[in-house]
């Protein structure tokens, strides 16, 4: 499959997503903005888990880190959205780097538990400093923080545009990254770490870089969530927000560029549909996880890659 075709296809996905805001009723257009931010988060998760084989249970920390790195300055010091977003990017990346320095000395199950414990410590820290963070109740981001270049992010058009823009940026960076020289090394870590060492690569350094990139995505998504939807809370640091991107990625297809957004969209509207029928939507999340690992560990686009189109990135 030629590079030009791959790029064209992914650009078409972006165009379709942009057009969807005009085709969907307003309520669902807002939901699509949510899905795009969650998909940005899941794309970062996918770089670590899907491509590099790092199964983390701590990404909620990076997401919440970005959320509070953007939300707190906006709330306490009146930062506007531009600087706040940059801070969220940094917050996620720095946290991921710090966690990675320790957690990447372990692998497999230990890595999962270490990342889980760091995230839990982060959540408790947000609770502990509740005078500043609002604790479990969280806080509403003031209107002054929700303005970008003079546009109010609380209104539908700008909100969707920013959500889409950040997603598109992440999407294209992801595509370029996994098709690059470094992308090949990422997959090598997943497939056979020992072998990659004997080909001249330092697994610790490679995985640390990936985790930081993954943290940048998660942090930016967290910051965008706070600014676009006007709320930040410690509950976003709980394990549930590490599980959700994992679920999206498993459903859409781990190790595919478009898998996370597909998984996020499907799961979001599935839950939306289910919660109209029953309050037990969490049951659906649990059942989906079990069914996916049992019967479809490669996810939708993983299946497509296996059966239909080998060259899908």
């Amino acid at each position: 499959m030629s590079g030009a075709k791959v790029w064209a296809l992914h650009l078409a996905v972006l165009v379709a997503l942009f057009a969807a805001q005009y085709l969907l009723p307003p309520y669902h257009a807002t939901n699509l903005a949510r899905v795009l931010v969650l998909a940005l988060f899941a794309m970062g998760y996918n770089l670590a888990f899907g491509y590099t084989g790092l199964l983390s249970l701590g990404h909620a920390l990076f997401f919440a880190g970005g959320m509070f790195a953007a939300g707190l300055p906006a709330y306490h010091f009146g930062f506007s959205a531009g600087p706040a977003l940059i801070l969220s990017l940094l917050g996620g990346g720095v946290l991921a780097g710090a966690v990675g320095l320790f957690a990447l000395r372990t692998a497999g199950v230990s890595f999962m538990i270490v990342t889980l414990m760091f995230a839990q410590a982060g959540y408790l820290t947000l609770i502990y400093f509740n005078a500043w963070t609002g604790g479990d109740q969280g806080f509403a981001v003031p209107a002054s923080g929700r303005s970008l270049f003079g546009f109010a992010l609380s209104s539908d058009g700008p909100r969707f545009a920013v959500a889409w823009g950040l997603f598109a940026l992440g999407f294209l960076v992801c595509l370029a990254l996994v098709r690059s020289r470094f992308g090949r090394v990422m997959v090598a870590m997943r497939e056979n770490e020992e072998r990659s060492r004997l080909l001249g690569y330092n697994p610790f350094v490679v995985k640390l870089i990936v985790l930081v990139i993954s943290g940048l995505y998660a942090g930016l998504a967290g910051g965008a969530w706070a600014l676009l939807f006007g709320y930040a809370g410690a509950s976003f640091a709980t394990i549930q927000y590490s599980i959700l991107p994992m679920l999206y990625v498993l459903l859409g297809g781990a190790g595919t560029v478009a898998g996370p957004v597909l998984g996020a969209a499907l799961m979001f509207w599935l839950i939306e549909l289910a919660s109209g029928l029953t309050s037990a939507w969490l049951f659906l999340v649990g059942a989906a996880l079990v069914v996916l690992v049992l019967f479809a560990p490669k996810g939708i686009l993983g299946w497509v890659r296996e059966k239909v189109w080998r060259g899908l990135p």
Binding site: R181, V185, E191, R197, L198, L199, G200
Partner: protein, 242 residues
């Protein structure tokens, strides 16, 4: 002058003396055979050389530089390549990507940041051509036959463009016809590359090696030319079973 030099190399596993004070020299431009009964410590010894396993005592020098404490990946970048006895490839990647990883990771660091480029493609094609697999570049590595996986392993070693290439029982599982081609390949590598070849097939070692070292119970039992080794009574008793 030796290109790769080990002095007093030692590695014990609990009470088991897998490698026990081995001195070793690989000269520039030679093919040296390393033989010995199963469990003699050959794989452990070359794992110490390549850095897969840390040494307990002793020193290793590559082209005069002390590499004893360098991690494996740094040794690779200095030109010391190792191919695994137990096939170790990237099964989920294509043959091309397997070799490309070696090309861009090895001594020359070939290729652009975008992961392609004419130089990279040429180097991959050259390595695959050397083992006769040029037409298999697009295949998934996991789907190859066992013999082709062994040869891919060798191609990855070559693609690192090493100064020293360590091959751990590369002919295991190859068909008779493939073995002849392999012997020609190894002879064709010198003098640009020096080869350390662990081999069970006596015909192959006797045919390609300039010198042979015999290990037994983690110690050097004998070393010399193929003719000297096959005439050595101690070797015959311990190994050739005469």
């Amino acid at each position: 002058m030796s290109l790769l030099e080990a002095r007093g190399l030692t590695r014990h596993f609990g009470g088991l003396r897998a490698v026990d004070g081995v001195d070793f020299d690989l000269r520039p431009g030679e093919v040296q055979g390393l033989i010995g009964p199963n469990g003699a410590g050959k794989t452990t010894f070359v794992s110490l050389l390549s850095g897969r396993i840390p040494v307990q005592s002793g020193t290793i020098h590559l082209a005069g530089e002390d590499i004893t404490r360098l991690p494996a990946q740094a040794r690779v970048r200095k030109g010391l390549a190792y191919t695994f006895q137990i096939t170790s490839i990237f099964p989920g990647l294509t043959v091309f990507d397997n070799v490309a990883l070696a090309v861009q990771g090895g001594r020359a660091q070939i290729g652009s940041w975008r992961g392609g480029g004419a130089a990279l493609e040429a180097a991959v094609a050259a390595a695959l051509g050397q083992v006769g697999m040029a037409d298999l570049a697009g295949q998934g590595a996991g789907a190859l036959s066992y013999g082709h996986q062994r040869l891919l392993e060798v191609a990855m070693g070559l693609a690192l463009q090493p100064k020293v290439l360590i091959l751990d029982e590369p002919t295991q599982g190859l068909a008779a016809g493939e073995i002849a081609g392999f012997m020609a390949l190894v002879r064709g590598l010198v003098p640009a590359v020096s080869v350390l070849l662990i081999e069970h097939n006596m015909e192959v070692v006797m045919g390609v090696a300039d010198r042979i070292t015999v290990l037994n119970f983690g110690r050097v039992l004998a070393r010399g030319t193929p003719a000297q080794i096959s005439a050595d009574p101690a070797v015959q008793e311990a190994y050739l079973g005469a």
